[in-house]
């Protein structure tokens, strides 16, 4: 059951910057002039927490992430990061896109080095850090390749490496494993759990897969209602069959 198809970490984690506290206060999410906005939503994400966001297609999950990332200003209410209003995108909140957002003109290593270059890390430091992350993701042999030559699962791992290389205090993930087959997805989830434990970053994780939400989340937020459910620990694949987990799964499905 607990097959890990990815190499175990060989590189120690960079020290963590601690998680950021994210909050929505009566926030209305959407594009001005777009479809009806979502909300008002009230939501608090504690530092270091993993919040899974589930909901049917088109309910505003991606809009929520884009608003938290600062790419989309709220139409009303407030979006806070560590108590400060979010004014725009920033390096402290990394976004992992649903679809491949790797720069095709940069090699795998070049992509992972990018957030480090933005932060002004020198060439040698960039390379060392990027190669460390690639090794953790089991991509050490692919550093010099172009993104178009990679498989879907490899691309998503590069995206994750790129997001984490900037040492963000919050990682916002938009169905990062949605396009992967079941086997690869399981491996990615296990890898993610393991890595997140080390970074201490706050995670907001959008998915349409209830099992994924139960497996990865500390809490589960339900859109469009905005309700939040707690997930009992320990989170373990072995716990997938036990009655408490099954009951939770049922509750999530019922409230959707």
């Amino acid at each position: 059951m607990s097959r890990t198809p990815f190499p175990s970490p060989a590189v120690p984690l960079p020290e963590s910057g601690g998680g950021a506290a994210l909050a929505l206060e009566g926030a209305l999410l959407g594009h001005s002039g777009g479809p009806a906005p979502v909300g008002p939503l009230d939501l608090r994400v504690a530092p270091g927490e993993v919040l899974a966001v589930v909901g049917p297609s088109g309910c505003g999950k991606t809009t929520l992430l884009r608003t938290l990332a600062g790419l989309l200003p709220p139409l009303g209410g407030r979006v806070l990061c560590d108590g400060e209003p979010v004014r725009g995108p920033g390096g402290d909140r990394a976004l992992v896109f649903q679809h491949d957002a790797l720069l095709p003109w940069r090699t795998v290593r070049g992509n992972v080095e990018l957030p480090l270059a933005v932060r002004g890390v020198d060439r040698a430091g960039r390379r060392r850090a990027a190669d460390g992350w690639l090794e953790r993701m089991g991509l050490a042999g692919h550093a010099a390749r172009w993104p178009h030559g990679l498989s879907g699962g490899q691309r998503q791992r590069v995206q994750l490496a790129r997001a984490l290389a900037g040492r963000p205090r919050a990682v916002l993930m938009d169905e990062p494993f949605g396009a992967l087959d079941a086997h690869t997805r399981t491996g990615m989830q296990d890898l993610l759990v393991e890595i997140l434990r080390g970074t201490g970053a706050t995670v907001v994780f959008v998915t349409h897969d209830v099992d994924e939400a139960v497996h990865l989340g500390d809490r589960i937020a339900l859109l469009p209602s905005g309700g939040v459910l707690d997930v009992p620990r320990p989170r373990d694949r072995a716990a997938a069959g036990d009655p408490a987990t099954r009951a939770l799964r049922r509750r999530v499905l019922d409230s959707l």
């Binding site: 097959r3 890990t4 198809p5 990815f6 190499p7 990332a69 600062g70 790419l71 725009g88 995108p89 920033g90 390096g91 402290d92 909140r93 990394a94 976004l95 896109f97 679809h99 957002a101 720069l103 095709p104 003109w105 940069r106 090699t107 990018l114 957030p115 270059a117 933005v118 932060r119 089991g138 042999g141 390749r145 172009w146 178009h148 030559g149 498989s151 879907g152 699962g153 900037g166 992967l180 087959d181 086997h183 690869t184 491996g187």
Partner: protein, 300 residues
């Protein structure tokens, strides 16, 4: 390229030259009149004669210098203006209408402007060459920048990158494939204009020499000029193409479809520095793409 295809290509050129030689040597006169037309042999003789003179190489150097200067200026200005128009509403409002009004004016019609504005003929020719290549580069850049997926820009923004970082890491590299389309067209247009400008107002230069030969009824000389322009044009467009291929090596390329239908046996891999890893054979890439098999098998 296979030997057979090379043979076909060389054969086509030789056949054209052979037909030319036959038509002119026998002074064929069927509506098209070849009596006055110089034969291939005459042109070749004239070419050999010219190539031995210093004046020929001086003309060639003048034309090359003009086109390289004008074209490089146009490339820099065209990419800058095209990016500005595509990225900034201010630039679009200020430059957009101006560009669309000036663009339809043939560059060679700017000769009076060049004469009025610029102190020397030399600068005038470079100006006209630059004006000719500028617009194709601008338009291609504008379209390429507008066609960029916003997701790349957003990715850089969420890393904390600012406008300058987006410009250097996303907009310019992402637009390069389109920009090179504009540069390829631009270098061709630039040759038309440098030669025309030299014919009108040059001192030295292949265009100037060709026109001189025409006025003194030295037809073989005219054809030497044409052949020289053709060769120089081929050289510059090859350089632009090669630079484009090298710089956009990251683009996924379709494997050579013109090859034989049966898959070739794998060639021994030779090291190819600074090139994109070529897409492997269809079967290999399909398996690499789809199979989620881990690189390392888990230890039981």
């Amino acid at each position: 390229m296979s030997a057979g295809r090379r043979l076909v290509r060389a054969g086509s050129l030789l056949a054209a030259l052979g037909a030319w030689q036959l038509l002119t040597a026998y002074d064929v006169n069927l509506w098209l009149r070849f009596e006055q037309f110089p034969t291939v042999a005459e042109v070749a003789r004239a070419f050999a004669e010219r190539a031995g003179t210093e004046a020929y190489w001086q003309d060639l150097g003048s034309s090359l210098r003009r086109i390289v200067t004008g074209f490089l200026l146009a490339a820099v200005l065209g990419v800058a203006a095209g990016t500005a128009v595509a990225r900034s509403r201010w630039a679009a409002d200020l430059l957009g209408p101006l560009v669309e009004v000036v663009r339809p004016v043939p560059a060679i019609a700017l000769v009076p402007v060049a004469i009025l504005l610029l102190p020397t003929n030399e600068q005038g020719i470079v100006f006209i060459t630059c004006a000719a290549a500028f617009f194709p580069v601008l338009v291609a850049t504008r379209h390429a920048v507008r066609a960029l997926s916003p997701v790349w820009e957003e990715a850089v923004l969420t890393m904390g990158g600012g406008r300058a970082r987006v410009l250097w890491s996303v907009v310019l590299p992402g637009a390069l494939p389109g920009v090179f389309g504009g540069l390829s067209i631009g270098v061709g247009v630039a040759w038309i204009c440098v030669i025309s400008a030299e014919m009108i107002s040059g001192e030295y230069g292949v265009g100037y020499r060709t026109w001189q030969d025409y006025t003194v009824v030295d037809y073989p000389g005219v054809f030497v000029g044409m052949a020289t322009i053709g060769a120089l044009g081929l050289l510059t467009s090859t350089v632009v193409e090669a630079a484009g291929r090298r710089i956009t090596a990251w683009l996924p390329r379709v494997p050579d479809r013109a090859g034989p239908a049966v898959p070739r046996p794998p060639r021994p891999s030779r090291p190819r520095p600074r090139r994109a890893p070529e897409p492997p054979s269809a079967a290999a890439s399909a398996s690499a793409r789809e199979v989620p098999v881990p690189e390392k098998e888990p230890v039981p």
